[in-house]
């Protein structure tokens, strides 16, 4: 399936631009082309939104509705917002654009043996502007199955440009309504059997020669929100050998309940609790992925990853999120401190003031 004016696959090979794909879409394409295994999917481009609005012919009408609106009159804003969004959500997508989107959805599905649920997320072009990110442009719909649900939610994402909060925000910040556009990301839902975070440093001391991994069963929310004690593993960044590991209790996991279209919490049995939730090979893969993200972004990373149950071993590690690590990265690199004797420092007399640091080996 080729990229087109209206559809751009994450791995389609087209150069991403913020204007075409919005922030989220562009970053997913960038990460994919950098060899990072993000869950597969495609972006419904801003061109499709523009074509849709053009065909609908409602742009002028929307501008008229918004003109002279008082941002402090919430009731009125809510009413206008509801009108505009209902209008957007009820109109048909131009035939060519719709056909391409259907084909893209089918191409995505064809990568799997059985139909897989997808997420549909808005990807705003203004999202990455430092002071212009706001709720309402972050609409995300999970566990959608079949194209009709997907098509419906793509329009919901488009419509989210006109939520009350978005309207008020633009009014208060003097952001014009002309030229607004919106891309939408359609992406396979991760069916996580294990997931977690990985940092390309040791957060306890900022040591950049380590990779620290927290891992637990199911999707990662419980790790991120601290509802479970995950396995904690520290690896050497260069050789990927194990430096330290503490097995967490991992007493529960969140797994998708497709019928209910939500995640359900399940208890983890004693046997799975007592062992590390990742094999050695999976651990190495997570670390390698974190390392690759760091190399790509050229700064220590804090990534979220998951192992997808729908994909074969060796291809099932997915990158969900990569952020620059901020706590230590803004500090200078670790400087050697005079070592207080520890069991890992041979040659240090435990009680003495002598330290090899004070010795010059070259006269």
């Amino acid at each position: 399936m080729q990229d087109t004016q209206y559809i751009q696959f994450f791995d389609g090979g087209t150069e991403p631009t913020l204007a075409n794909l919005g922030g989220k879409g562009a970053s997913l394409v960038t990460m994919t082309s950098a060899g990072m295994p993000v869950p597969p999917g495609f972006v419904v481009t801003t061109a499709q939104f523009d074509a849709f609005m053009h065909e609908a012919g409602i742009t002028d009408h929307i501008h008229a509705l918004l003109a002279g609106l008082n941002p402090d009159d919430i009731t009125e804003v809510d009413a206008v917002s509801a009108t505009i969004r209902a209008d957007i959500e009820s109109r048909p997508v131009p035939a060519e654009a719709r056909a391409q989107t259907v084909a893209a959805f089918e191409a995505l599905q064809s990568r799997f043996e059985t139909p897989v649920p997808v997420a549909v997320r808005s990807s705003a072009t203004a999202e990455d502007l430092p002071d212009a990110s706001f709720a309402g442009q972050q609409d995300t719909y999970l566990w959608l199955e079949g194209f009709s649900a997907v098509g419906e939610h793509i329009r919901k994402c488009w419509a989210s440009l006109y939520t009350s909060r978005a309207i008020i925000y633009r009014l208060k910040n003097n952001i014009p309504n002309e030229g607004l556009s919106m891309a939408v990301v359609v992406q396979k839902m991760v069916n996580a059997k294990a997931s977690g975070v990985a940092m390309t440093l040791d957060p306890t001391n900022g040591d950049r020669s380590k990779i620290t991994i927290d891992a637990s069963y199911g999707v990662g929310e419980m790790v991120v929100s601290g509802q479970v004690t995950p396995d904690n593993i520290v690896l050497d960044k260069v050789t990927l050998t194990l430096v330290n590991e503490h097995l967490g209790d991992k007493h529960a996991e969140l797994v998708p309940d497709l019928a209910a279209r939500r995640l359900v919490e399940r208890e983890v049995d004693a046997e799975r609790r007592s062992r590390r939730c990742l094999t050695d090979a999976q651990l190495t893969a997570v670390a390698t992925l974190a390392k690759r993200a760091e190399k790509h972004y050229k700064t220590p990373q804090d990534i979220e990853w998951a192992l997808d149950a729908d994909l074969p071993d060796g291809e099932n590690l997915l990158l969900l999120q990569a952020r620059p690590e901020t706590v230590h990265s803004n500090k200078p690199a670790t400087a050697p401190q005079p070592v207080v004797s520890t069991t890992t420092a041979p040659g240090q007399a435990a009680s003495s003031g002598f330290s090899w640091n004070s010795v010059k080996l070259f006269a």
């Binding site: 040591d207 400087a335 040659g347 002598f354």
Partner: protein, 627 residues
Amino acid sequence: MSMKSFPKPSELPVPAGAEGWEKLYPYYLVFQDKLKEQEDAKFWFCDSQHWPTVFKPFETIGGEFAVKCLGQYNARHLMIPNANGIEFRVHLGYLYMSPIPVPEDQIAARVPLFEERVGYYFQNWPRLLEQWHTKVKGTIDEMEQITFAKPPAVVPIEDIHSGKAMDGSEVLLDNYDRLIQLAYQNWQYHFEFLNLGYIAYLDFFNFCKQVFPNIPDQSIATMVQGVDMELFRPDDELKGLAALAVELGIQSAFENADDADATLGAIRASAGGEHWMTRWEEAHEPWFNFTVGNGFYGHDKYWNEYPEIPLNYIKDYIARLDAGQEILRPVEGLIAEKERIVEEYRELLDGDNLAAFDGKRGLAAQCYPYVENHNFYIEHWTMGVFWRKVRELSRLFHAEGFWTEPDDLLYLGRNEVRDAIFDLVTWWGVGAAEPIGPSYWPEEIERRRAIVDALKTARPAPALNTPPASITEPFTRMLWGITTEQVQQWLGEGEAVEGGGLRGMAASPGVVEGPARVVTDADQLSEVQQGEILVATVTAPSWGPIFGKIAATVTDIGGMMSHAAIVCREYGLPAVTGTGSASTTIRTGQMLRVDGTKGIVQILDAPTVEGPGAHSHSHDHDEPAHV
């Protein structure tokens, strides 16, 4: 926390039949009743890495020269600020060591002396090392010239004319003394650079541990190790000879490699065999001055004296080549991997730290190859010639009826040998009917042989007395792998391995499973099968050829820098060293899981029998496991 203790020397049971063993060794090598209080206050660990089996009286020479010379460089040459040498004793036939700390109030004064001395060596390293090679080879050449012969029956007429006035016995006496002195000389040279190599390594090691807290020891070792080392040359020669045999199509000549004469005859008779024989002869000097042992025992077999040993190795290599296997070490891959590792750590540093890293790594990389390569020149080559000369002397006595077995001289202490020589030259000189030796030594040697054999029935205790709260002496940690954690493990206080198993040093990374092959003696190496996991008290680098067969190595003794660790990293095999008791716990044939990354060995089909070695090592009953 009150530390548990190891047994006191006096608490270890003397094996039946070994009573009176103390008299086999010089007075200064055994624990003294009058010094009991001082000696029991010290912590002693057993060096079964270098001396895995009981000393015959003459064999203490290697232990004495080696440990004495190591110590002199710490305490007298280099003035290492925080470490003097290592005291040593022989107890129940095994060698125990106790590092000597420098008193707190003397450390500071040693720093400037130390800096000046090591600084000189580090700055003049290449020139001094070249000089070292000249000195060491000169010693070996001189040793090779030594001969032992009875004085002539009649003093030659020329000596009458010249007024020489000697009967030739002085040559025998001188040559013996000279042999001992030359061995001592090369042992002094041995440590001229070894401690420096360790110092440079430790300096880099400590720096790495500061800038990269908890960096795996393996990473540090990898960054300074030479990849192509002289220590591997003997093995590489065999691989080359195997490849040549395949090229010439003379594989069939090696069918009965145990019969060296027949094999070499068959090779000569083959087309192209002469070409192969030329290569074979060329490889001998110096590379076949190589032992399957470790150079410290009179019974160690050297390739140049037992050609069936290298021929069998070549036969194995031929079989692997014919099976389409790659037998060459992955040198290029190892070099590329080493460079990647260095570069990735460098990328994490900048400014002063990067400069310090480069400087310290550069120094360690310059000095470290010596740590590996010296072993060929001293333990293998020097000691190979030494033991050959000792055996020549022993046979001279044997021919005169001094003892019943050709090599029985090993049951005499080295100073008793001087007495025996004087006995011999006296008898010869005065023209008596016979020397005293033949009526004294055979019986005495039988008595001593029985004691040595009785001592061999017990394994040594890993350590004696109460360990210090932490082990800090650098060489103890690095060379012997005697760490605070290791000592606790021996005491059964370490973290237990889940599912039963042994813990040791993570000496070479990787995880494999396979059947165990327990080897306690180099003669058993021929039993090792493809894919087995080698379990040994200690390995010698000269076991090189079997490292291409095995899947992993587990040893009782040794640290990150033990020979087993170095060789396994070189061959890309997982290794766990310093487990304390793997060779007595594990049985040949048991399935093992060796995790060289974590330093854990699991017995997958643990025996159901109870008894020595059926469970992990806790030494709370002080009953040494019987082999």
